[in-house]
Symmetry: C2
Subunit: 413 residues, 2 copies
């Protein structure tokens, strides 16, 4: 029996749903707008995409997206299609063209969003997934249990290498586990990459010599492939333990190739996620999208955070985060660590822990740490104490009675 790729969609159509489903299946496999003489029944049976499931959800009177054929009613459905792996082989870029190629613009479609994909084992054999994942990250960061408490260098851009290193000093002296460059930081002449890594790693290494534990610093190496590789090597040479990539900006082929080269965890930032997802009638659900990057090799993946400052509601955030924590294949889980960020403090710890069912995560906070009246070390301690309480099932305010940093933090969180 052939292995098949499955993809599920939210579909809105002004036409007959069954016919539209067949049109999409045809367009994305052996069919086209015209019936072709050489699209034989045998070929269609062998290479055609199959409508596995079509469930009508509701009917509405106006189309979600423009450009669709006019109709008096638009039907919203859940559609599941499948393709034989023989059409494309286990190839991530070809997978994208197949499950998310020329189908969103069909006139029969007034809304289409990919909800999830399920891939045959051939993909697990073709792609290695994350090299470090949860275990490797914990080992390198020296954090055996609980979340990695982290933060982001701010301002995002504008600091020079020396100023960046000074901020890192403050953070590592405060006992932080994880620091990342902003996604806007790269290798500009205002803060050249090599200078920044050298200055920052001097601070990180000095602190590690004293404490025996090295903070994990994710340097943003996003760029053309040769430069990403060179920057990765520089981080590695200077004793760094993580590189960061804006995966949507770099693309799948870039990440796959970097993963082959890399000997450090890859921290995947999702800058650009908004344009891929914010229209509910178009684009991608994170549950589908994150699988691409985990296969390609992301060790950490940003998932936003509960009660964030962006437009994503909590249930969507948590659905995405749980997807990242769900094994990809039965025999190849490809565990990637979800990264929570955006207006995070200790107040979200319990709900995040409960929602995810695990503390295998990175929690990055800015104001939640820097805003502490007793300084950065107290801010880091307070966030850790909030997580300790969440994991131990102790009420936050009760825990604060015996933990001063947490008590003081509750006044500004």
């Amino acid at each position: 029996m052939t292995q098949r790729i499955h993809a599920s969609y939210w579909l809105e159509t002004g036409g007959d749903p069954e016919r539209t489903a067949q049109t999409i299946a045809g367009e994305q496999s052996s069919g086209t707008f015209l019936k072709l003489a050489n699209e034989t029944d045998e070929l269609k049976e062998r290479a055609g995409a199959r409508v596995e499931c079509l469930e009508v959800l509701e009917k509405v009177s106006s189309p979600s997206l423009p450009g669709a054929k006019a109709s008096s009613t638009y039907t919203r459905c859940r559609l599941e299609l499948s393709w034989p792996i023989e059409n494309l082989g286990p190839c991530l870029p070809s997978l994208l063209s197949t499950v998310a190629g020329n189908l969103y613009e069909l006139q029969d479609v007034s809304g289409l969003r990919i909800l999830d994909i399920t891939l045959p084992d051939a993909f697990a054999r073709a792609y290695p997934g994350p090299a470090f994942g949860v275990e490797g990250t914990r080992r390198l960061a020296g954090v055996a249990r609980g979340p990695l408490i982290g933060t982001i260098i701010k301002p995002s851009v504008g600091l020079d290498a020396r100023q960046t290193a000074e901020q890192v000093r403050l953070l590592v002296e405060g006992g932080i586990d994880f620091i990342k460059d902003d996604e806007l930081q790269g290798d500009g002449p205002g803060c050249p990459f090599d200078e920044r890594v050298a200055a920052v790693m001097r601070v990180v290494n000095d602190a590690a010599d004293q404490t025996g534990r090295k903070a994990m610093m994710a340097f943003n190496i996003t760029g053309d492939l040769d430069r990403m590789k060179r920057r990765h090597d520089r981080v590695r040479e200077l004793g760094g333990t993580c590189v960061m990539v804006c995966v949507a900006s770099v693309g799948v082929a870039g990440l796959v190739e970097l993963r082959r080269h890399s000997t450090l965890p890859i921290h995947a930032h999702r800058a650009g996620w908004g344009y891929l997802s914010r229209s509910p009638a178009l684009g991608w659900d994170f549950a589908a999208w994150q699988k691409i990057w985990r296969l390609a090799g992301a060790d950490h993946l940003h998932v936003n955070g509960l009660r964030n400052k962006f437009s994503e509601p909590d249930d969507v955030v948590m659905h995405g985060a749980r997807a990242v924590a769900t094994p990809l294949f039965e025999h190849a889980p490809m565990a990637t660590m979800p990264v929570f960020s955006s207006a995070q403090t200790g107040l979200q710890a319990l709900d995040t822990f409960t929602g995810l069912g695990s503390a295998d995560l990175i929690c990055t906070a800015g104001g939640g740490i820097f805003g502490h009246p007793d300084g950065v070390p107290a801010g880091v301690s307070a966030l850790r104490q909030a997580w300790d309480a969440a994991i131990a099932g102790i009420d936050l305010r009760r825990h604060a009675q015996t933990h001063g940093e947490l008590a003081r933090a509750l006044s500004f969180w």
Copy 2:
């Protein structure tokens, strides 16, 4: 004076437009949700994004996208921002994170679409652009003037290598200039790449030996980078003159790296464009998006076609096509050939020629060629005759009076 990157947007906000513009500018440069002590006025002046222009277009009563802060009125504007090149350097992936990163999801934003970008000359020095473009493509295809008349192998998937070559034989015997694989075709076990290239190039080379002119066949090499390079080399070895890449599926870093390796024109397919563009309140205008791929090295770029079978209206198609034909930099035009496709026949020739102001393009037709009652050679001739008429300013029906293939084609187009 520093060189600046400019980006213009269609913005919808429930808040004060000026404040929202400043929020976006801050978020995408030196600011964040909180006012930071170390974001000094000097730093902000130096590294901050600048609101160059904010023009109110209209006010509406409901938000285009969910997740925005509630308001009684939403203002739609044209916003132009600029960034100093010093923030990021001339780097395409970092450019994406900057102009199209974490801004679409801001709560102050109920709609955001990037309309155009203007890049400083530093990008023209950092990226080579297309290696072949219009001139190189014409030289390799042996088409000195007028459009390259092309088609796509159909069914998209399901034919084996021998069957594909048979279809190519029919086309090259018909005098076609250009043939492409479908974007769904790659290197699946049902039609392995090496077998397909060998079988097809035997046909293409045999025909070239007889006629002195080699049809340009764009083999879809989309995949991981090592495979794309290997497939490119295989095409080159066997005398092929073009490779095709689904650029959104591969990503920017992949295309940049392939361009460095490649000695053949790169035919860029835009599979996935629908999810980037179909919501008018989100994502990308093609005028902005195409610049990324031209800098990265696309020699040809798909632009849809007039009166196409998809949802894109004609004015949008033509706006995009003209953008592709517009020089990128004064001293580095980086000319990429627009590729027109989707339900194309000779009937669109005049409007396409008039709209673009040039015949430096590839026109791919399926049914418009295969549907000809006298077969493929007559179909190719008819399409060429229609374009000859358009370029010469002769009425199509008058031209048909002295051109039999065209006359017969008019009955089925």
